[in-house]
Protein backbone atom coordinates (compact mmCIF):
# COMPACT_ATOMS: atom_id res chain seq x y z
CA UNK A 1 0.00 0.00 0.00
CA UNK A 2 2.72 2.41 1.01
CA UNK A 3 4.65 1.49 -2.14
CA UNK A 4 1.62 2.34 -4.30
CA UNK A 5 1.24 5.73 -2.65
CA UNK A 6 4.92 6.48 -3.08
CA UNK A 7 4.86 5.51 -6.77
CA UNK A 8 1.87 7.78 -7.28
CA UNK A 9 3.66 10.67 -5.50
CA UNK A 10 6.66 10.26 -7.80
CA UNK A 11 4.39 9.93 -10.83
CA UNK A 12 2.71 13.19 -9.83
CA UNK A 13 6.09 14.91 -9.61
CA UNK A 14 7.19 13.67 -13.04
CA UNK A 15 3.82 14.59 -14.56
CA UNK A 16 4.21 18.12 -13.20
CA UNK A 17 7.64 18.44 -14.86
CA UNK A 18 6.41 16.95 -18.17
CA UNK A 19 3.32 19.18 -18.15
CA UNK A 20 5.48 22.26 -17.66
CA UNK A 21 7.72 21.17 -20.55
CA UNK A 22 4.68 20.46 -22.75
CA UNK A 23 3.28 23.94 -22.06
CA UNK A 24 6.66 25.45 -22.97
CA UNK A 25 6.85 23.34 -26.14
CA UNK A 26 3.33 24.22 -27.28
CA UNK A 27 4.02 27.91 -26.58
CA UNK A 28 7.16 27.69 -28.73
CA UNK A 29 5.17 26.01 -31.49
CA UNK A 30 2.57 28.79 -31.24
CA UNK A 31 5.31 31.37 -31.71
CA UNK A 32 6.46 29.71 -34.96
CA UNK A 33 3.09 30.60 -36.42
CA UNK A 34 0.34 28.53 -38.04
CA UNK A 35 1.17 26.48 -41.12
CA UNK A 36 4.91 26.58 -40.48
CA UNK A 37 7.12 24.26 -38.48
CA UNK A 38 10.40 24.61 -36.67
CA UNK A 39 12.31 21.31 -36.73
CA UNK A 40 13.92 21.87 -33.30
CA UNK A 41 10.55 22.50 -31.65
CA UNK A 42 9.01 19.55 -33.50
CA UNK A 43 11.79 17.21 -32.32
CA UNK A 44 11.39 18.50 -28.77
CA UNK A 45 7.63 17.85 -28.85
CA UNK A 46 8.04 14.39 -30.40
CA UNK A 47 10.54 13.47 -27.71
CA UNK A 48 8.26 14.82 -25.04
CA UNK A 49 5.40 12.70 -26.38
CA UNK A 50 7.63 9.63 -26.18
CA UNK A 51 8.52 10.58 -22.61
CA UNK A 52 4.85 10.81 -21.66
CA UNK A 53 4.22 7.35 -23.04
CA UNK A 54 7.30 5.85 -21.37
CA UNK A 55 6.51 7.43 -17.98
CA UNK A 56 2.88 6.28 -18.06
CA UNK A 57 3.82 2.78 -19.20
CA UNK A 58 6.55 2.47 -16.57
CA UNK A 59 4.26 3.76 -13.79
CA UNK A 60 1.53 1.28 -14.71
CA UNK A 61 4.00 -1.62 -14.68
CA UNK A 62 5.51 -0.47 -11.39
CA UNK A 63 2.01 -0.35 -9.87
CA UNK A 64 1.17 -3.80 -11.23
CA UNK A 65 4.18 -5.19 -9.40
CA UNK A 66 7.16 -7.50 -9.84
CA UNK A 67 5.80 -9.80 -12.56
CA UNK A 68 4.80 -6.90 -14.79
CA UNK A 69 8.19 -5.25 -14.30
CA UNK A 70 9.91 -8.52 -15.17
CA UNK A 71 7.88 -8.78 -18.41
CA UNK A 72 8.52 -5.13 -19.27
CA UNK A 73 12.28 -5.53 -18.98
CA UNK A 74 12.20 -8.89 -20.77
CA UNK A 75 10.49 -7.15 -23.66
CA UNK A 76 13.03 -4.32 -23.52
CA UNK A 77 15.78 -6.95 -23.71
CA UNK A 78 14.10 -8.53 -26.71
CA UNK A 79 13.79 -5.21 -28.54
CA UNK A 80 17.38 -4.25 -27.65
CA UNK A 81 18.78 -7.62 -28.74
CA UNK A 82 16.91 -7.34 -32.02
CA UNK A 83 18.47 -3.93 -32.65
CA UNK A 84 21.97 -5.01 -31.64
CA UNK A 85 22.01 -8.28 -33.62
CA UNK A 86 20.70 -6.53 -36.73
CA UNK A 87 24.10 -4.85 -37.01
CA UNK A 88 26.52 -7.53 -35.76
CA UNK A 89 28.76 -9.76 -37.84
CA UNK A 90 27.00 -13.05 -38.60
CA UNK A 91 26.75 -15.79 -41.19
CA UNK A 92 24.22 -18.48 -41.88
CA UNK A 93 26.26 -20.85 -39.67
CA UNK A 94 25.22 -18.68 -36.71
CA UNK A 95 21.51 -18.98 -37.43
CA UNK A 96 20.81 -21.59 -34.78
CA UNK A 97 22.91 -19.94 -32.09
CA UNK A 98 21.18 -16.61 -32.74
CA UNK A 99 17.78 -18.28 -32.57
CA UNK A 100 18.85 -19.83 -29.24
CA UNK A 101 19.89 -16.40 -28.00
CA UNK A 102 16.44 -14.95 -28.74
CA UNK A 103 14.15 -17.80 -27.87
CA UNK A 104 15.96 -19.79 -25.17
CA UNK A 105 18.67 -17.78 -23.43
CA UNK A 106 16.72 -14.53 -23.10
CA UNK A 107 13.58 -16.11 -21.57
CA UNK A 108 15.64 -18.39 -19.30
CA UNK A 109 17.65 -15.44 -17.96
CA UNK A 110 14.41 -13.70 -16.92
CA UNK A 111 13.04 -16.90 -15.40
CA UNK A 112 16.20 -17.20 -13.30
CA UNK A 113 15.95 -13.55 -12.25
CA UNK A 114 12.23 -13.96 -11.52
CA UNK A 115 12.79 -16.95 -9.26
CA UNK A 116 15.71 -15.21 -7.54
CA UNK A 117 18.23 -17.87 -8.54
CA UNK A 118 21.17 -15.53 -7.97
CA UNK A 119 23.78 -18.26 -8.32
CA UNK A 120 22.38 -19.07 -11.75
CA UNK A 121 21.41 -15.77 -13.33
CA UNK A 122 24.75 -14.11 -12.59
CA UNK A 123 26.71 -16.82 -14.43
CA UNK A 124 24.24 -18.20 -16.98
CA UNK A 125 25.17 -15.87 -19.86
CA UNK A 126 28.84 -15.14 -19.05
CA UNK A 127 29.62 -18.84 -18.56
CA UNK A 128 27.07 -21.19 -20.11
CA UNK A 129 25.88 -19.15 -23.09
CA UNK A 130 29.46 -18.02 -23.66
CA UNK A 131 30.59 -21.62 -24.05
CA UNK A 132 27.52 -23.12 -25.69
CA UNK A 133 26.86 -20.70 -28.57
CA UNK A 134 30.35 -20.95 -30.17
CA UNK A 135 29.98 -24.75 -30.08
CA UNK A 136 26.64 -24.53 -31.90
CA UNK A 137 28.16 -22.19 -34.51
CA UNK A 138 31.32 -24.28 -34.90
CA UNK A 139 29.29 -27.45 -35.57
CA UNK A 140 28.18 -25.85 -38.84
CA UNK A 141 31.84 -25.83 -39.89
CA UNK A 142 32.16 -22.24 -41.13
CA UNK A 143 35.41 -20.64 -39.92
CA UNK A 144 35.04 -17.31 -41.76
CA UNK A 145 35.43 -14.43 -39.27
CA UNK A 146 34.56 -16.96 -36.58
CA UNK A 147 36.01 -15.11 -33.60
CA UNK A 148 34.42 -11.80 -34.52
CA UNK A 149 31.01 -13.44 -35.11
CA UNK A 150 31.11 -15.27 -31.81
CA UNK A 151 32.42 -12.26 -29.90
CA UNK A 152 29.80 -9.89 -31.27
CA UNK A 153 26.97 -12.30 -30.48
CA UNK A 154 28.26 -12.71 -26.93
CA UNK A 155 28.52 -8.93 -26.54
CA UNK A 156 24.94 -8.59 -27.72
CA UNK A 157 23.76 -11.03 -25.05
CA UNK A 158 25.81 -9.45 -22.28
CA UNK A 159 24.60 -5.94 -23.11
CA UNK A 160 21.00 -6.56 -24.06
CA UNK A 161 20.03 -9.46 -21.82
CA UNK A 162 22.52 -9.86 -18.98
CA UNK A 163 22.92 -6.17 -18.12
CA UNK A 164 19.28 -5.17 -18.63
CA UNK A 165 18.09 -8.10 -16.49
CA UNK A 166 19.96 -6.56 -13.56
CA UNK A 167 17.33 -3.81 -13.35
CA UNK A 168 14.47 -6.17 -12.40
CA UNK A 169 17.03 -8.18 -10.40
CA UNK A 170 16.95 -5.27 -7.95
CA UNK A 171 13.58 -6.70 -6.88
CA UNK A 172 15.52 -9.54 -5.29
CA UNK A 173 17.77 -7.39 -3.13
CA UNK A 174 15.08 -7.15 -0.42
CA UNK A 175 16.82 -4.75 1.93
CA UNK A 176 15.51 -5.03 5.50
CA UNK A 177 13.25 -7.84 4.39
CA UNK A 178 10.73 -5.48 2.73
CA UNK A 179 9.91 -6.62 -0.80
CA UNK A 180 7.62 -3.67 -1.65
CA UNK A 181 10.56 -1.31 -1.20
CA UNK A 182 12.48 -2.91 -4.05
CA UNK A 183 10.01 -1.76 -6.72
CA UNK A 184 10.80 1.76 -5.54
CA UNK A 185 14.51 1.01 -5.81
CA UNK A 186 13.98 0.39 -9.54
CA UNK A 187 12.06 3.66 -9.82
CA UNK A 188 14.93 5.39 -7.98
CA UNK A 189 17.53 3.85 -10.29
CA UNK A 190 15.69 4.77 -13.50
CA UNK A 191 15.00 8.32 -12.33
CA UNK A 192 18.53 9.21 -11.24
CA UNK A 193 20.12 7.79 -14.40
CA UNK A 194 17.67 9.64 -16.65
CA UNK A 195 17.98 12.95 -14.78
CA UNK A 196 21.79 12.70 -14.83
CA UNK A 197 21.69 12.13 -18.62
CA UNK A 198 19.27 14.97 -19.28
CA UNK A 199 21.22 17.48 -17.19
CA UNK A 200 24.50 16.33 -18.73
CA UNK A 201 22.99 17.00 -22.16
CA UNK A 202 21.64 20.46 -21.34
CA UNK A 203 24.64 21.62 -19.30
CA UNK A 204 27.05 20.29 -21.93
CA UNK A 205 25.24 22.28 -24.61
CA UNK A 206 25.13 25.49 -22.60
CA UNK A 207 28.59 25.73 -21.07
CA UNK A 208 30.48 22.54 -21.92
CA UNK A 209 34.03 23.12 -23.17
CA UNK A 210 36.43 20.23 -22.62
CA UNK A 211 35.30 17.20 -24.61
CA UNK A 212 36.24 13.85 -23.09
CA UNK A 213 36.38 11.94 -26.40
CA UNK A 214 36.09 14.52 -29.19
CA UNK A 215 35.98 12.07 -32.09
CA UNK A 216 33.18 10.03 -30.53
CA UNK A 217 30.74 12.10 -28.61
CA UNK A 218 29.88 15.71 -27.73
CA UNK A 219 30.16 14.82 -24.03
CA UNK A 220 32.12 17.37 -22.01
CA UNK A 221 33.69 17.32 -18.54
CA UNK A 222 31.52 20.26 -17.47
CA UNK A 223 28.36 18.58 -18.71
CA UNK A 224 29.19 15.29 -17.02
CA UNK A 225 30.06 16.95 -13.72
CA UNK A 226 26.75 18.84 -13.75
CA UNK A 227 24.83 15.71 -14.65
CA UNK A 228 26.42 13.65 -11.89
CA UNK A 229 25.86 16.44 -9.34
CA UNK A 230 22.19 16.68 -10.35
CA UNK A 231 21.81 12.91 -10.16
CA UNK A 232 23.37 12.92 -6.68
CA UNK A 233 21.07 15.75 -5.55
CA UNK A 234 18.03 13.88 -6.91
CA UNK A 235 19.29 10.76 -5.16
CA UNK A 236 19.54 12.61 -1.85
CA UNK A 237 16.03 14.05 -2.32
CA UNK A 238 14.64 10.60 -3.09
CA UNK A 239 16.50 8.80 -0.30
CA UNK A 240 13.17 8.25 1.51
CA UNK A 241 12.13 5.65 -1.08
CA UNK A 242 15.41 3.73 -0.80
CA UNK A 243 16.98 1.57 1.89
CA UNK A 244 19.93 4.01 1.96
CA UNK A 245 20.60 7.06 4.12
CA UNK A 246 20.76 10.51 2.49
CA UNK A 247 24.53 10.42 1.89
CA UNK A 248 24.51 6.84 0.64
CA UNK A 249 21.55 7.52 -1.69
CA UNK A 250 23.42 10.48 -3.19
CA UNK A 251 26.55 8.35 -3.63
CA UNK A 252 24.58 5.51 -5.25
CA UNK A 253 22.89 7.96 -7.60
CA UNK A 254 26.24 9.50 -8.56
CA UNK A 255 27.70 6.03 -9.13
CA UNK A 256 24.76 4.97 -11.35
CA UNK A 257 24.94 8.24 -13.25
CA UNK A 258 28.67 8.12 -13.94
CA UNK A 259 28.66 4.46 -15.07
CA UNK A 260 25.66 5.28 -17.24
CA UNK A 261 27.41 8.19 -18.94
CA UNK A 262 30.45 6.08 -19.74
CA UNK A 263 28.10 3.38 -21.03
CA UNK A 264 26.63 5.98 -23.34
CA UNK A 265 30.15 6.77 -24.56
CA UNK A 266 30.88 3.08 -25.23
CA UNK A 267 27.68 2.87 -27.26
CA UNK A 268 28.70 5.94 -29.24
CA UNK A 269 31.88 4.04 -30.19
CA UNK A 270 29.91 0.94 -31.20
CA UNK A 271 27.47 2.95 -33.29
CA UNK A 272 30.32 4.84 -34.97
CA UNK A 273 32.03 1.54 -35.75
CA UNK A 274 28.87 0.06 -37.27
CA UNK A 275 28.01 3.27 -39.12
CA UNK A 276 24.60 3.76 -37.52
CA UNK A 277 23.20 6.94 -36.04
CA UNK A 278 20.27 5.36 -34.23
CA UNK A 279 19.72 1.68 -33.51
CA UNK A 280 16.16 1.77 -34.85
CA UNK A 281 13.16 4.08 -35.08
CA UNK A 282 10.79 2.44 -32.63
CA UNK A 283 10.68 5.32 -30.14
CA UNK A 284 9.69 8.46 -32.06
CA UNK A 285 12.29 11.22 -31.73
CA UNK A 286 14.64 9.11 -29.61
CA UNK A 287 15.81 6.32 -31.93
CA UNK A 288 15.63 2.75 -30.71
CA UNK A 289 15.35 0.97 -27.39
CA UNK A 290 19.14 0.76 -27.18
CA UNK A 291 19.50 4.52 -27.67
CA UNK A 292 17.12 4.99 -24.76
CA UNK A 293 18.63 2.32 -22.52
CA UNK A 294 22.37 2.57 -23.10
CA UNK A 295 23.08 4.38 -19.81
CA UNK A 296 20.85 2.12 -17.74
CA UNK A 297 22.49 -0.92 -19.34
CA UNK A 298 25.94 -0.07 -18.02
CA UNK A 299 24.72 1.25 -14.70
CA UNK A 300 22.42 -1.65 -13.78
CA UNK A 301 24.89 -4.44 -12.89
CA UNK A 302 27.11 -2.07 -10.90
CA UNK A 303 24.15 -0.58 -9.05
CA UNK A 304 22.80 -4.07 -8.33
CA UNK A 305 26.04 -5.43 -6.90
CA UNK A 306 26.83 -2.36 -4.80
CA UNK A 307 23.28 -2.49 -3.41
CA UNK A 308 23.85 -6.13 -2.46
CA UNK A 309 27.14 -5.25 -0.77
CA UNK A 310 25.57 -2.40 1.15
CA UNK A 311 22.60 -4.39 2.38
CA UNK A 312 25.15 -7.18 3.06
Amino acid sequence: METTTNILYLFGGVVAVLSALTVVGEALRGRVGPGRTNPVVQTFLTRLMSWWIMVILFTITALLGPVALMLLFAFASFAALREFLTFTDKRQADHLSLALAFFVILPLQYVFVGYDLTGLFTVFIPVYAFLLLPIVSALRGDHNRFLSRVAETQWALMICVYCISHVPALLNTKPEGDSGQTVLLIVFFVMVVQIGDLMEYFAGRRFGKRRIAPSLSPKTLEGMATGIACAAATGALLSWITPFGIGAAAAMAALASVTGMFGNLVFAAIKRDKGVKDWSHLIPGQGGFLDQLDSAIFAAPVFYHVTLLMSG
Binding site: R82, E83, L85, H95, L98, F103, G275, S280
Partner: protein, 218 residues
Protein backbone atom coordinates in the same frame (compact mmCIF):
# COMPACT_ATOMS: atom_id res chain seq x y z
CA UNK B 1 -13.57 -7.97 -55.30
CA UNK B 2 -15.59 -6.96 -52.26
CA UNK B 3 -18.93 -7.32 -53.98
CA UNK B 4 -18.29 -10.85 -55.21
CA UNK B 5 -17.22 -12.24 -51.83
CA UNK B 6 -19.63 -12.78 -48.92
CA UNK B 7 -19.37 -10.24 -46.11
CA UNK B 8 -18.04 -12.70 -43.52
CA UNK B 9 -15.18 -13.69 -45.82
CA UNK B 10 -14.41 -10.06 -46.44
CA UNK B 11 -14.30 -9.37 -42.68
CA UNK B 12 -12.16 -12.46 -42.11
CA UNK B 13 -9.78 -11.31 -44.85
CA UNK B 14 -9.40 -7.81 -43.37
CA UNK B 15 -8.87 -9.26 -39.90
CA UNK B 16 -6.26 -11.74 -41.16
CA UNK B 17 -4.54 -8.88 -42.97
CA UNK B 18 -4.22 -6.84 -39.78
CA UNK B 19 -3.04 -9.90 -37.88
CA UNK B 20 -0.34 -10.63 -40.47
CA UNK B 21 0.81 -7.01 -40.48
CA UNK B 22 0.93 -7.01 -36.66
CA UNK B 23 2.94 -10.26 -36.63
CA UNK B 24 5.37 -8.91 -39.22
CA UNK B 25 5.84 -5.77 -37.15
CA UNK B 26 6.23 -7.67 -33.89
CA UNK B 27 8.84 -10.08 -35.22
CA UNK B 28 10.91 -7.86 -37.50
CA UNK B 29 9.86 -4.35 -36.42
CA UNK B 30 9.59 -3.78 -40.19
CA UNK B 31 9.85 -0.15 -41.21
CA UNK B 32 9.54 1.86 -44.41
CA UNK B 33 12.15 4.32 -45.56
CA UNK B 34 10.62 6.73 -48.08
CA UNK B 35 13.85 7.78 -49.74
CA UNK B 36 12.66 8.68 -53.24
CA UNK B 37 8.86 8.94 -52.94
CA UNK B 38 6.27 10.13 -50.44
CA UNK B 39 3.69 7.78 -48.90
CA UNK B 40 0.87 9.27 -50.93
CA UNK B 41 -1.93 7.89 -53.08
CA UNK B 42 -0.46 7.60 -56.56
CA UNK B 43 -0.54 4.77 -59.06
CA UNK B 44 2.77 2.95 -58.85
CA UNK B 45 4.48 -0.31 -59.65
CA UNK B 46 6.74 -1.24 -56.75
CA UNK B 47 9.43 -3.56 -58.10
CA UNK B 48 11.41 -5.36 -55.43
CA UNK B 49 14.19 -7.85 -54.81
CA UNK B 50 13.00 -11.37 -54.02
CA UNK B 51 14.86 -13.60 -51.58
CA UNK B 52 12.09 -15.17 -49.54
CA UNK B 53 8.36 -15.67 -49.34
CA UNK B 54 8.25 -13.00 -46.66
CA UNK B 55 9.22 -10.21 -49.09
CA UNK B 56 5.73 -9.44 -50.30
CA UNK B 57 4.04 -9.39 -46.84
CA UNK B 58 6.83 -7.05 -45.63
CA UNK B 59 6.20 -4.48 -48.37
CA UNK B 60 2.47 -4.86 -47.91
CA UNK B 61 2.82 -4.29 -44.14
CA UNK B 62 4.74 -1.02 -44.40
CA UNK B 63 2.28 0.56 -46.87
CA UNK B 64 -0.12 2.89 -45.03
CA UNK B 65 -3.75 1.70 -45.07
CA UNK B 66 -4.96 4.09 -47.75
CA UNK B 67 -2.20 2.84 -50.08
CA UNK B 68 -2.50 -0.81 -49.10
CA UNK B 69 -6.16 -0.89 -50.14
CA UNK B 70 -5.21 0.08 -53.71
CA UNK B 71 -2.04 -1.98 -54.03
CA UNK B 72 -2.12 -5.51 -55.45
CA UNK B 73 0.85 -7.89 -55.35
CA UNK B 74 1.45 -9.84 -58.55
CA UNK B 75 1.93 -13.47 -57.55
CA UNK B 76 2.16 -16.96 -58.96
CA UNK B 77 -1.17 -18.72 -59.41
CA UNK B 78 0.37 -22.19 -58.93
CA UNK B 79 1.62 -21.12 -55.48
CA UNK B 80 -1.43 -19.26 -54.20
CA UNK B 81 -4.05 -21.68 -55.46
CA UNK B 82 -2.35 -24.78 -54.11
CA UNK B 83 -4.70 -25.21 -51.13
CA UNK B 84 -7.74 -23.54 -49.56
CA UNK B 85 -5.76 -21.55 -47.02
CA UNK B 86 -3.46 -20.06 -49.64
CA UNK B 87 -6.41 -19.42 -51.94
CA UNK B 88 -7.88 -17.37 -49.09
CA UNK B 89 -4.71 -15.51 -48.11
CA UNK B 90 -3.39 -14.75 -51.60
CA UNK B 91 -6.43 -13.54 -53.54
CA UNK B 92 -8.58 -12.33 -50.62
CA UNK B 93 -6.24 -11.02 -47.89
CA UNK B 94 -3.51 -9.62 -50.15
CA UNK B 95 -5.85 -9.12 -53.13
CA UNK B 96 -3.17 -10.63 -55.39
CA UNK B 97 -3.17 -10.43 -59.16
CA UNK B 98 -2.58 -14.09 -59.98
CA UNK B 99 -0.39 -14.97 -62.92
CA UNK B 100 0.21 -18.44 -64.32
CA UNK B 101 3.96 -19.06 -64.48
CA UNK B 102 3.75 -22.35 -66.41
CA UNK B 103 3.91 -21.54 -70.14
CA UNK B 104 2.67 -25.01 -71.15
CA UNK B 105 -0.41 -25.01 -68.93
CA UNK B 106 -1.68 -21.49 -69.26
CA UNK B 107 -4.50 -20.61 -71.56
CA UNK B 108 -4.55 -16.84 -71.69
CA UNK B 109 -1.94 -14.10 -71.91
CA UNK B 110 -0.28 -13.75 -68.48
CA UNK B 111 0.11 -10.03 -68.99
CA UNK B 112 -3.63 -9.55 -69.49
CA UNK B 113 -4.46 -9.73 -65.77
CA UNK B 114 -1.69 -7.26 -64.99
CA UNK B 115 -2.86 -4.86 -67.69
CA UNK B 116 -6.41 -5.05 -66.36
CA UNK B 117 -5.25 -4.25 -62.85
CA UNK B 118 -3.24 -1.26 -64.10
CA UNK B 119 -6.17 -0.09 -66.20
CA UNK B 120 -8.49 -0.12 -63.17
CA UNK B 121 -6.00 2.15 -61.37
CA UNK B 122 -4.42 -0.30 -58.94
CA UNK B 123 -0.82 -0.05 -57.84
CA UNK B 124 1.18 -3.27 -58.12
CA UNK B 125 3.97 -5.03 -56.24
CA UNK B 126 6.13 -7.10 -58.59
CA UNK B 127 9.30 -9.13 -58.33
CA UNK B 128 10.97 -8.69 -61.72
CA UNK B 129 13.56 -11.40 -61.04
CA UNK B 130 10.73 -13.91 -61.47
CA UNK B 131 12.08 -16.38 -58.96
CA UNK B 132 13.55 -16.19 -55.51
CA UNK B 133 17.21 -15.24 -55.62
CA UNK B 134 19.25 -18.03 -54.05
CA UNK B 135 22.60 -16.86 -55.36
CA UNK B 136 25.23 -14.61 -53.79
CA UNK B 137 24.55 -11.92 -56.39
CA UNK B 138 22.29 -9.12 -55.18
CA UNK B 139 19.85 -9.57 -58.08
CA UNK B 140 19.02 -12.05 -60.85
CA UNK B 141 18.50 -10.66 -64.38
CA UNK B 142 15.11 -8.94 -64.68
CA UNK B 143 12.31 -10.36 -66.82
CA UNK B 144 10.70 -8.14 -69.42
CA UNK B 145 7.40 -7.57 -67.53
CA UNK B 146 8.57 -4.37 -65.84
CA UNK B 147 9.56 -2.88 -69.19
CA UNK B 148 6.23 -3.83 -70.77
CA UNK B 149 4.28 -2.22 -67.92
CA UNK B 150 6.34 0.95 -68.21
CA UNK B 151 5.70 0.99 -71.97
CA UNK B 152 1.95 0.37 -71.87
CA UNK B 153 1.29 2.63 -68.84
CA UNK B 154 3.85 5.43 -69.12
CA UNK B 155 2.10 7.61 -66.48
CA UNK B 156 2.58 4.98 -63.77
CA UNK B 157 5.64 5.47 -61.50
CA UNK B 158 7.99 2.48 -61.41
CA UNK B 159 9.38 2.52 -57.87
CA UNK B 160 12.47 0.49 -56.92
CA UNK B 161 11.83 -1.16 -53.54
CA UNK B 162 14.61 -2.89 -51.58
CA UNK B 163 13.69 -5.30 -48.80
CA UNK B 164 16.75 -5.43 -46.55
CA UNK B 165 17.97 -8.12 -44.21
CA UNK B 166 15.50 -10.89 -45.06
CA UNK B 167 18.28 -13.27 -46.07
CA UNK B 168 19.60 -13.18 -42.52
CA UNK B 169 16.16 -13.25 -40.94
CA UNK B 170 15.19 -16.41 -42.79
CA UNK B 171 18.01 -17.97 -44.83
CA UNK B 172 17.18 -20.78 -47.22
CA UNK B 173 16.97 -24.08 -45.38
CA UNK B 174 16.39 -22.67 -41.88
CA UNK B 175 13.20 -23.28 -39.94
CA UNK B 176 13.15 -20.59 -37.24
CA UNK B 177 13.03 -16.94 -38.38
CA UNK B 178 15.29 -14.54 -36.46
CA UNK B 179 13.54 -11.43 -35.16
CA UNK B 180 15.97 -8.95 -36.72
CA UNK B 181 14.95 -5.52 -37.98
CA UNK B 182 13.80 -5.44 -41.59
CA UNK B 183 13.77 -2.21 -43.61
CA UNK B 184 11.86 -1.59 -46.84
CA UNK B 185 13.44 1.27 -48.82
CA UNK B 186 11.50 3.02 -51.57
CA UNK B 187 13.67 4.78 -54.16
CA UNK B 188 13.02 7.50 -56.73
CA UNK B 189 10.51 6.52 -59.45
CA UNK B 190 11.64 5.49 -62.95
CA UNK B 191 9.94 5.70 -66.34
CA UNK B 192 10.80 4.03 -69.61
CA UNK B 193 12.49 6.54 -71.91
CA UNK B 194 10.87 7.36 -75.25
CA UNK B 195 13.25 5.31 -77.37
CA UNK B 196 14.85 3.33 -74.58
CA UNK B 197 15.87 -0.21 -75.43
CA UNK B 198 14.41 -2.97 -73.27
CA UNK B 199 17.75 -4.27 -71.99
CA UNK B 200 19.08 -0.80 -71.32
CA UNK B 201 16.00 0.04 -69.29
CA UNK B 202 16.04 -3.22 -67.34
CA UNK B 203 19.68 -2.67 -66.45
CA UNK B 204 18.96 0.88 -65.35
CA UNK B 205 16.08 -0.38 -63.18
CA UNK B 206 18.26 -3.09 -61.62
CA UNK B 207 20.98 -0.56 -60.83
CA UNK B 208 18.47 1.79 -59.22
CA UNK B 209 17.24 -1.09 -57.06
CA UNK B 210 20.68 -2.31 -55.95
CA UNK B 211 21.66 1.28 -55.13
CA UNK B 212 19.10 1.17 -52.29
CA UNK B 213 20.64 -1.90 -50.62
CA UNK B 214 22.55 -1.39 -47.36
CA UNK B 215 26.16 -2.55 -47.48
CA UNK B 216 25.56 -5.64 -45.35
CA UNK B 217 23.08 -7.02 -47.89
CA UNK B 218 25.59 -7.05 -50.74
Amino acid sequence: MTRKTPLYRWIAARFTGHLLAFTARFITAVRAEWRGIEPVDKQRVYFANHVSNADMPMIWTVLPHHMRAKTRPVAAADYWLKNKLRAFVGPEVFNCVLVDRRPDARTDDPMAAIRDALNEGSSLIIFPEGNRNMTDDPLLPFRAGLYNMGKSHPHVDLVPTWVANLTTIMPKGEVIPLPLICTVTFGAPLHVGENEDKDVFLERAADALVALAPERDL
